[in-house]
């Protein structure tokens, strides 16, 4: 049933008995043309665009837990395309454009809220670096504005402009079209839309091994039995390294924990998204009213999807130092997610050395905003066997050749990106 104000009104009179199921709960079939591993936003978007853009009819998405339960369901929901390198900003901009029509396309309100994303600059070096970035965006047709200190104060008066600020604000790079979206809704919207195009989304189905013969993938072992297929697309985020390992591959990826947290709900008090890079802190307010914020990686390899105290304490200190009004709010919950960190901080969307096995991963801190764009180009890659022009740069080979996509210039150590 299509969602609209009218269907809601009609159902209100019928006690909401008529809503159809958002997705089926199918038993896995013995064979699919394409199997996507991981029902996060990326896996689901890939399945959706495979069906919609490429007419593929036999698709399964296998999920070891519940759909949307990975990083899609635990991220701080910032959507932006404010990148420095053209390869990145063009890809993320395409994704952002998809976001702008996503609720309509999926017929599901993903609550994409273009409230603006600001990155703070403090010293002159940071001003230069962010100017370079904003200018790069503009040259690629992306909206970017420089806010000087006064403009910052007008735009985000909640920050500390007093002489108590350890890092006085010199200015900020604003992307007005950036913002946030309702993370769970993105997974659900794609799942519902993909399901309606015949995609089998199979939850509680963990992939435990690959059947590879003659250098080609033939099928997958799962906790719900063996499934054979032509092609496999991995979209398992923090588990990319682990699954690639099962397929005999090593990747330039490490898994690290990134934490986030939310405060108790309060009335609107913060209307944009701010990232305070110098303090490793960023914040926005959810529509429910919680201040959603987070910080840096824990800094060591981990598959523990939970938070810990030192990082939370540091994040709170950074938050209070930049946004003093946080101090008397209360923290409601904190958690962690397992990040697929690449060695240059940019993603990998590519074929792999194993025939028929394709990899979508290495999203680092920033894959939520990529969700529709990633699904779009990964679907293209899976369907045609060739990269879409937008994901051509995101190869595995770039590490070997040196065509790195290193936004920040950190070395081959994931915890610096």
């Amino acid at each position: 049933m299509r969602y609209s104000a009218w269907s809601l009104l009609r159902e209100a009179f019928g006690g909401h008995r008529g809503w159809s199921r958002v997705w089926r709960d199918p038993e896995p079939q013995a064979r699919y043309d394409i199997v996507i591993v991981g029902a996060g936003g990326h896996g689901l978007a890939t399945a959706y665009y495979l069906a919609k853009n490429h007419g593929v009819r036999s698709i399964a998405v296998l999920e070891k837990g519940w759909l949307g339960g990975g990083n899609t369901g635990r991220n701080t929901t910032i959507v932006r395309s404010n990148y420095l390198l053209p390869e990145n900003n063009r890809f993320y901009e395409w994704s952002l454009q998809l976001w702008e029509g996503l609720s309509q396309d999926l017929n599901f309100n993903v609550m994409f809220s273009q409230r603006g994303v600001v990155m703070l600059a403090h010293g002159p070096d940071q001003v230069d670096a962010l100017t370079r970035r904003g200018n790069s965006m503009r040259l690629n047709g992306i909206d970017a504005e420089w806010l000087d200190r006064q403009a910052m104060q007008d735009f985000v008066p909640q920050l500390d402009y007093s002489d108590q600020a350890r890092f006085p604000i010199a200015g900020g790079l604003l992307q007005p079209r950036g913002g946030t979206a309702r993370h769970d809704a993105v997974a659900w919207g794609f799942a519902r839309a993909a399901d309606s195009l015949g995609v089998d989304i199979i939850q509680n189905c963990e992939v435990t091994g690959f059947n590879i013969q003659g250098g080609r993938v033939r099928g997958l072992d799962t906790t719900r039995g063996y499934i054979s297929c032509e092609k496999v697309g991995l979209a398992v985020a923090g588990h990319t390294g682990h699954l690639a390992g099962l397929a005999g591959l090593r990747l330039p990826i490490e898994s690290h924990v990134l934490q986030a947290c939310v405060s108790e709900p309060v009335k609107p008090m913060f209307d944009t998204v701010v990232s305070f890079g110098r303090g490793h802190f960023y914040v926005s307010q959810s529509d429910k009213g919680g201040m959603v914020f987070g910080g840096d990686l824990d800094g060591y390899n981990s598959y523990a999807q939970r938070g810990n105290l030192p990082m939370m304490s540091h994040v709170a200190a950074a938050g209070v130092s930049m946004f003093p009004g946080l101090s008397r709010l209360k923290l409601l919950r904190h958690w962690g997610g397992i990040m697929d960190m690449t060695m240059d901080g940019s993603p990998i969307i590519t074929e792999s050395p194993v025939g028929g096995l394709y990899i979508n991963g290495g999203w680092c801190y920033g894959g939520f905003k990529a969700t529709p764009g990633s699904g779009w180009v990964f679907a293209h890659t899976l369907a045609t066997g060739k990269p879409h022009p937008l994901n051509e740069p995101f190869t595995l080979d770039r590490f070997r050749t040196g065509h790195l996509l290193n936004e920040g210039g950190g070395g081959p150590v994931p915890n610096v990106h």
Binding site: N109, D184, K267, G409
Partner: protein
Amino acid sequence: MSNRLADGGLIDRGRRLRFRFDGRGYEGFQGDTLASALLANGARLVGRSFKYHRPRGVFAAGVEEPNALVTLLGQGRREPNARATTTELYDGLVAESQNRWPALSVDLMAVNGLLAPLLPAGFYYKTLFGGPGWRFFEPWVRRAAGLGKGSTAPDLDRYDHKYAHCEVLVVGAGPAGLAAALQAADGGERVMLVEQEPRVGGSLLWDRRTLDGRDGPAWAEAQAQALAAMDNVTLLRRTSAFGYYDDNLVALVERRTDHLAAAPAFTTRQRVWWVRAKRVVLATGAIEQPLLFPDNDRPGVMLAGAARAYLNRWAVKLGSRAVVYTNNDTAYACALDLAAAGIEVAALVDLRPAPDGPWPARLAEAGIALLAGHRLVGCRGGQSVHGVEAAPVNGGAAKPLGCDLVAVSGGWAPAVHLHAQAGGRLGYDEALGAYRPGPVRQAHESVGAATGMFELGQITGATVDDGDASPVGPGVEPAPGKVFVDLADDVTAADVELAQREGYRSVEHLKRYTTLGMGADQGKTSNLAGQSLSAKARAESNAAVGYPSFRPPYAPVTIGALAGADVGLRFVPQRRTALDDWHRRHGAIFVDAGHWRRPRAYLRNGETLEDAYVREAAHVRQSVGIADISTLGKIDIQGPDSLELLQRVYVNDFASLKVGRARYGLMLREDGLAGDDGTTARLGEHHYLMTTTTGHAEHTLSRLEYHLAVDWPELRCVVTSVTEQWAAIAVAGPSSRDLLREVLDGVDLDDVPFLAVADVTLDGVACRLFRISYSGELAYELHLPAGFAEAAWTRLLSAGDGLGVAPYGMEAMGALRIEKGHVTHAEMNGQTGAADLGLGRMAKAAKPHVGRAMSQRPALTDAERPALIGLVPTDGTTDFKGGMHLLREADVTPAPSLPVDSLGHVTSWSYSPALGMPIALALLNGGLAANDGATVYAHDPMGGRVVRARVVSPHFYDPKGERQRG
């Protein structure tokens, strides 16, 4: 205090406290909570619900409270969402209700209640994206959501942290925790006992039990006193354990001053304790669960245990006629207590068809009617409950029962939160209708009600009365109607069923779709009920439905407390050079460099930054300037294999460096890109002093230590940071030698050629002099023990008075080095290799070194890579700007067709006093080799400016380096 019982309660009737709620004045007693005081004043309505703005009253008596959230005000402070049930009353407390407009009793937003049919769970996913779109609807949704209002003013209170270590940490000072703590303390080990309430005793504060002949609160206090007398015990009240982390690290938050009208000086408001315990005992008790029925959210409906707490602990006469509704024995005592307090009990409604054991008899004895096998099917009232309807569980006519209080018990769920956070597993107990702690991953155990064990004698080892009651009871199917499962987030039974029907089957989907358990109480009184409904709808067991993950904090924690004391100016500690105070006193404006602060320029009367740096830089070119360069990293390297270490980490050769000489060196990272640079001097046969950039000092030291420990343990050599030992002063300019001649002894400066090192003394202090030039002038760097830096600095200034010496800051240093084409972190930005920086020749040495292999990769040797160039404006006057992109002429037309390919960018720029015009360094595709003399357009689209510029060598000034050798 119209509703205060004449006597009883753990309150101090001698101490009356005044407080205000929504502008009205009230009184309470010392020992009250805000909730108990409001109830004692007959104020039932305390808040409006999250979504429908339904009137709500106090529902519980502790941290599990879902409704009674208020905003605390006063003395420049504002705290939204404070739980009235755990807010201790103090004289002068001011609170207001939340989420209502214009007032609590007349809330126009209650129209949402009428619209409820349009607002089922997740309605916003199905609409509000059409028409004017989410952009239009979102502000409305946001304004309707949220609870209290926060303040953006700085917090006037302070917070701190404290580490503690103990052998046993006991969480919860109810009977189980007190007993466990005493037992553990007997062995002499360090024991910590923490209790979130201001008093110890837990359930004994209201459960009217006798232990060893004493009443519960007295028994508990006696145990606490016994503990307090032992010096191996720390007992913390008002302290909640909120997080259980790896290796038995338990986080506590202690509320130190929240209960006081005026906090003592120098006392933080709250403290977070980081407790590392060998063993943890979780004696966290159990949380009472409700039974669901239509309109179960009316003010006056509350948990039976809470009702007993208000009666027994706070002597509140909760109403005049009560109905008790239960599925288990524990609520019988509630009915008895109500009756004993003079409140008529209309009936005790028990779901069970034939309750047995001692309790029904006691009820009969007290003359209270028992409606066994009944459930509540309705609840009347508005801003307070007026009555309920009870009907046989198996169907049959409903019977109205007039009442103004409904005490409900759906059994007790062990507080397993910390156990689960610690990685412990849970097992669903069908009889209890709740989870019990299962196998653990860390060193902890649960005791008492936290395990579902309710036998007081067994828990405490004391001789107790016959008051034990079992919490075991059956579940209930709620009658149709507006049944609230989660009061905090206004989630109804219909919402849970809708989620089920629509296919949000996983318990995590149920949670996220309906927001069940996502409110400020995190579902302490709603998750289980919601899961049971879901289980019924799915015809599966609760165990199959499962539970969402438990996460810290157990109850919300003030963010300021988590942050601790190191906030504001102290957020990152300020590192200061030995000359810091001199700079401050002499008009320096500072700039951050790592944790250090460095003078950016010394502003004289009315000067702008640009005036100042141009003056300072010109001064260096013309006479002599001095600069504080103490922040450079300095690493002492000694041992027979020191040279070998240098050879391996630097791209260029150091074998030919003689004792007494210094050389510039470049290091790559393992990935072949430039990492750090600096000058290294050979002080002795096997003794070197390496300098690094300020920003990379720590990393470079750490890498050297890494190589020596991991990669090359065979090298006999040690590295020691001496950054802090030595202050460093650059003395630069044509008159620098003359100036130094005035102050240095022990050396003939004419014998110190370019790149030489000399031991000198300055007023008797041994210093090291390096003839190194960053500015390109005749220049020196003087290293001296940090404690003498200020004396030396002022000595240089006074000695150089005649020569016109002046200090210069970072900005002038930048201008000078840009004129010379020296690179810093703006160029060495982690994206550039040696050749890109014009340092390719250095890497030609035929020796292995870190990064060599990877620097040979095709992309890193591509001639088209961006490489360092210089830029001058073709008009000779227009300023550049850092972060400008370099474009072709065709791409800077007023409306270029985007995207446009950037050819490079401006990395640094300055006004050049030497050249008399702006100059810039830039990275440009193909570098100088491909572009020398070409015209490019430096474009700042955000600033709307284009500078037409010519590509020139980055060595603008004295390219042959004659001046520095002079």
